[in-house]
Symmetry: C3
């Protein structure tokens, strides 16, 4: 006869460099999940909305937008990696592989590549993992590294303080081959006329005009992903210790503005894309709360060849998310998210000729 409280997740002292987590549960992409996240993002790329358009390009069905793929893989890792995290510090070298379709089942693994105790605070440290998501055929759909600040539970426990080389991320975005017989120009009216590769110039910044208020719906969306981090849904826990939790509010899970900023940028930079290729680095630079209206902008950092594909170009960008906070009676712009983002964009010459 005992009262048993099983603490969930790992603390700093539990991480062993080289250990591979096979994360629990897995997740099938139902049409309900697909709809919730694709539509939340406000994307305007027809690959995610119009199955006739997606099939014309050679996809098997509606294509999950990058924010959904990232969220599904990331959330599977939360219990093992970050249920007891203080902060998510950085995404590194996030790469997309096979397209994700409705009906696919995604499972994820993470290998610990580094553990670094804080020099200043002995109750925390940084865990560095490489995570890989695969579909039911074993194909990689996403891989990325993540650095996350995790609490220690037993302050006296020994830490496996080491770093290892990160395994090579052997994944390439699958893009259907170009085939002029598919008569792409017939559907050119479904996308913006001015977001082809030829339209971008390095150095330009696009201020996306649309914004969206985040409401308490963020709780349901986060739980829908199986993200079990309590700071996003357990108000009672926060009420017990409001100073520890940024003023006593539930924090919006970072994957929500991540997904939303990608979508807000879509009509200006990504509705003629055939996919997000790679995110070299990304960070949440300020918290988002229910009631904030989120906006986005995109810097074009470079425009180059897409290896092996005449019909595409690679656009290197930095995506910024921001919100406005009233301070001393004036609204101040606050950056909430920053993501280096490389996009495979169609050339007008090949698709709207």
């Amino acid at each position: 006869m005992a009262v048993i409280v099983k603490h969930k997740g790992n603390y700093l002292e539990h991480f062993r460099v080289g250990h591979t987590f096979r994360h629990k549960v897995g997740k099938t992409i139902t049409e309900g999940l697909f709809n919730a996240f694709t539509e939340y993002s406000m994307t305007t790329n027809p690959l995610h909305k119009n199955v006739e358009y997606a099939r014309r390009y050679g996809y098997a069905g509606l294509v999950a937008p990058p924010g959904l793929v990232m969220n599904v893989v990331f959330s599977q890792t939360v219990e093992d990696i970050s249920e007891n995290a203080r902060a998510n510090l950085e995404y590194v070298d996030m790469r997309f592989g096979a397209p994700v379709y409705i009906g696919d089942t995604i499972e994820a693994t993470s290998v610990v590549v580094g553990v670094t105790p804080s020099k200043r605070d002995n109750d925390r440290g940084v865990v560095h993992v490489q995570t890989t998501g695969r579909n039911q055929h074993g194909e990689v759909v996403l891989t990325y590294e993540r650095k996350v600040q995790v609490w220690k539970r037993d302050l006296g426990a020994s830490i496996d303080a080491r770093t290892e080389a990160v395994p090579p991320a052997d994944v390439t975005l699958w893009i259907p081959p170009y085939d002029a017989g598919r008569r792409y120009p017939e559907t050119a009216h479904l996308t913006s006329p001015d977001t082809y590769f030829e339209d971008f110039s390095a150095g330009d910044t696009l201020e996306h005009t649309r914004g969206r208020m985040v409401t308490t719906e963020h709780i349901g969306l986060t739980c829908m992903l199986d993200n079990t981090s309590q700071v996003h849904c357990n108000q009672y826990m926060i009420d017990q210790n409001p100073d520890r939790y940024l003023g006593g509010q539930l924090i919006v899970y970072g994957g929500i503005p991540f997904n939303l900023c990608l979508g807000l940028s879509s009509p200006d930079v990504a509705d003629n894309a055939l996919g997000d290729v790679r995110y070299p680095t990304g960070r949440h630079t300020a918290p988002v709360f229910a009631g904030d209206t989120v906006f986005a902008s995109t810097e074009i950092r470079g425009c180059g060849e897409y290896p092996g594909r005449d019909d595409l170009g690679l656009v290197e960008t930095t995506l910024h998310g921001h919100k406005f906070v009233k301070k001393d009676g004036a609204w101040q712009k606050v950056e909430v998210f920053r993501l280096e983002r490389e996009i495979a964009v169609r050339r007008r010459s090949h698709y709207a000729g």
Copy 2:
């Protein structure tokens, strides 16, 4: 190197009479979208809920309710037609055609049939369009006219102030043929016993008893439709200029109460219907905000033959939506929506005999 702000949508001076917009993106009806809007409506017609019932009647699957069809088509037009609108004035001659099923993809076009600058205010005018939504087979699922008050951006710009004849709306609601071999009475318990054609009398008014509070969920629902109008989701924009926006609140997109009022009326007037045929005219007569509880009532204006079908009758109604507002300590009933509505209703003689 430039900061680029691409304004979305058109202003009054951009509309040319006779121009046809082929709207962007298109939309596949996923089970997620279908569920969200069908259930939000609170409809009790089993055609939208019970696939076994729908198939018995000869439909290919669950049938999208009229509020979902209207919302999907309408929302596709917002960027081109009304992203910069001040107010949606009127729906005219809305007609339904082919049934919409899960998996269908809807695209929309709109032709400009009139532009009328305001005589009083030189910063606005009325745009009159006829919109048509088609499925992936090219079949018309919906057609309607809309009059919308749109802002001018350049007050000095010239306006194409003309009106043209509205093209004929060549669409007829598809209703499966009557076939006594389908043994309809076996499922008569799934609908109300007193909403057959024989039960309606011109002149009666049915006060539907159920009401539903609209919450901030309206933001997510509106964005789920790809309706990009910022007055429904961008609180920061409204905070910058609260006087311009009805007291500083996000306005609920009209398609939400449109859908809800249709559903609230369902158990009293439409759960034995095989479809909404035509809405001669409709208006949003007052704004709805999060926190309002919406109710509905239906006037029966006429009961007549359904051309070519002995098993059906045509019920002509006016659907009213309303809410209550507290003023000087007393609740006042405020009409928010009014829709002339013609419904194809089953005769008891043929279906519950």
Copy 3:
């Protein structure tokens, strides 16, 4: 010419012992509905999340969690049984049968087995029904009794005050046969390593650590189920008579915490289960409102053989839901839900050997 208000549902005087209601509408389980309720529950059992896992076990697809099955069947009965109820008193002998899959259509019937007027208050009484839900093949998916306190409308009406014997609940949970050739251990990493039958001891209490705040999303979820009870969605009705309605707030429909508590317990007691077998009794012991954070705990009451199955054991538990309420400056724990629950749990010896 008349104004007609059709009151919905039945009052105490309308119930006749022995009468069987065939409830209206029916409900097809779309992927949208499945996603909404499965994910809301926060379950971690892969049968509900990972279709590859479910198929390995011999299920035809993703399996609806018990909270979804219960909610779909229960909600179909609300208009006839409890639209005019004051309180839901007790669930009795709830048993699960055939698994419910996406695409299934559920219809429900209820037989009245007792009507008991209140001895103290002549405006109410208790109605006792037995409800059965069936799929499109006629297989029973759920059966249960319910006792509900219903208002009288006409205080002078006569009541059919009788009780009859409850018909035997002839239903057995379908569990796919054990087949070692399915190589179950290959997916053992998808569930908790310490929730096999061998891990439970009678007398233990498991305090589940996760909690979740309920928001106004409860309104949408309740309406999504076709639960038409107005106390969950009609704020205006409550504002007219706040004293009658527990302080003037919308009450969260009991099926929401029912579903959530089942899911919150999942990682500690049910992610290695192949199904909930039977709930001998259950009650909502306090109301839940938007803003409450709901928690759960499970008492293990007994661990026994599962008839005819060496690979399973039967775990008898009591599931408790609770929330915290601030009173005189201190947080007090309040039980909101209590459910006796018998679970068919896999043995490690057979599934993770």
